[in-house]
């Protein structure tokens, strides 16, 4: 049996206790904040988990999420923990690639910055967004959006939860229609880019060029694509993955199914929050899921095997 590590997307809300989960992780996080601040010439050192004070700045939030995920991942590496598989949820791919040894820490930061700048240009002049619908099936959802060219399904988290990307107006209209149709919950996600959708297709070639100088190393651990669930074991494969990741539909439910069917009986969410762990309750199969709050339990479970 095996343990897998999954990396969450950019986190939008912190519990406030993240820097107290583990002393070593807290120290690493602070050190990396300082390092990235110097590298980017942007002060990130004032970030406070309790105040969530960068929430109004999408790019800074992305940096913070990446840095925290890498801090936790570094702790696992220091414990000589070796997973069977790795995957990244949406933009969690950057921390996943670093953990796999494919890119170094600052190359991950550089990719986040470049992707953001390219996406800003690609969406200039438009208002875009993403939304989440819980409680409708794909057929119902398809009916709601079938005649619209300004919105599409960009991800499925579990049998009941779908993510939509598109223009902000279309997202708002479809969310409201979903509520009328009987959705259990709808929410507008706090992002301004329509990730994982065709609306960002023109950003991919530019991003490919921007990261052309990065030498992607073969991953230390097999990487499961969140797009097509293929197992990636080459540096070139990961380069292609990070490029298409911006504008291709993902399917997290199938990704989790793939991890479980490949023998993962423990899955650790390597980052702040517990969204992927909560979502795991709706994934079929015999496995345990651990959020960062349960880091010690996860380490103990790894030692038991």
């Amino acid at each position: 049996m095996a343990a897998s590590i999954v990396f969450p997307a950019f986190v939008n809300e912190y519990k406030g206790t993240e820097n107290r989960i583990n002393r070593d992780i807290g120290i690493t996080f602070t050190r990396l904040l300082e390092s990235v601040s110097g590298y980017l010439n942007t002060d990130l050192t004032g970030f406070d988990f309790r105040r969530n004070n960068f929430l109004d700045d999408e790019l800074k939030s992305q940096y913070i999420s990446y840095i925290f995920s890498c801090s936790v991942a570094g702790f696992l590496k220091n414990k000589n923990f070796s997973p069977s598989f790795v995957s990244g949820y949406s933009m969690g791919i950057y921390a996943a690639l670093h953990y796999c040894g494919s890119v170094d820490f600052l190359q991950g930061i550089k990719m986040i910055k470049q992707a953001w700048e390219i996406l800003c240009r690609a969406t200039e002049g438009g208002r875009f967004g993403m939304g989440m619908i819980i409680g409708l099936d794909e057929t119902d959802l398809g009916t709601l959006i079938e005649d619209r060219k300004d919105i599409e399904i960009s991800n499925q988290n579990n049998p009941y939860t779908f993510i939509l990307s598109g223009t902000r107006q279309a997202i708002e209209i479809v969310l409201e229609a979903a509520r009328e149709a009987g959705a259990m919950r709808i929410s507008l996600l706090p992002v301004s880019k329509p990730y994982h959708s065709r609306f960002l297709k023109r950003a991919s070639p530019e991003f490919a060029e921007a990261i052309g100088d990065i030498d992607f190393m073969p991953p230390l651990y097999p990487y499961i694509s969140a797009m097509d669930q293929n197992m990636i074991t080459t540096g070139d494969g990961l380069r292609k993955e990070v490029i298409v990741n911006l504008s291709s539909r993902m399917n997290w439910m199938k990704t989790m199914n793939s991890l479980v069917s490949n023998g993962s009986d423990r899955i650790f969410e390597c980052g702040a929050g517990d969204g992927l762990t909560r979502n795991a309750r709706f994934i079929e199969g015999e496995f345990q899921s651990f959020s960062v709050d349960k880091l010690e339990k996860f380490i103990e479970s790894a030692a038991d095997k």
Binding site: I134, G135, Y160, T161, G182, A183, M184, R278
Partner: protein, 100 residues
């Protein structure tokens, strides 16, 4: 329709209490009918969905999520007691819950 017996409510209550105790890592003695699911237990809508699935399987219910959601829009569920009441109505009325 699900079979309602004298024990059904006690059974539903036990399942709901045990579920939230485990999911929210809270001692079951701290859960009461007037416990607020969101503010007291930090519960979420996915937990509610999971519970619905548990009851659908246990009582072999034919009920769609969107039907339940439409009912809940009109009858919001905030406490454990309200959740138990809603689960009882689900078992008793299945998809007809929306007409209540």
């Amino acid at each position: 329709m699900g079979q309602i017996t004298a024990n059904t409510r006690a059974e539903v209550k036990e399942i709901v209490y045990s579920f939230f105790s485990e999911e929210c890592e809270t001692d079951i003695s701290r859960i009461h009918d007037d416990t607020n699911i969101i503010s007291d237990l930090e519960g979420d809508s996915l937990m509610f969905l999971e519970l619905i699935e548990i009851f659908k399987k246990k009582y072999n219910l034919s009920i769609e999520l969107k039907t339940i959601a439409k009912y809940i829009v009109k009858h919001p569920v905030e406490t454990i007691g309200q959740l138990i009441d809603t689960q009882m109505l689900m078992i008793e009325h299945e998809n007809n819950i929306v007409n209540l």
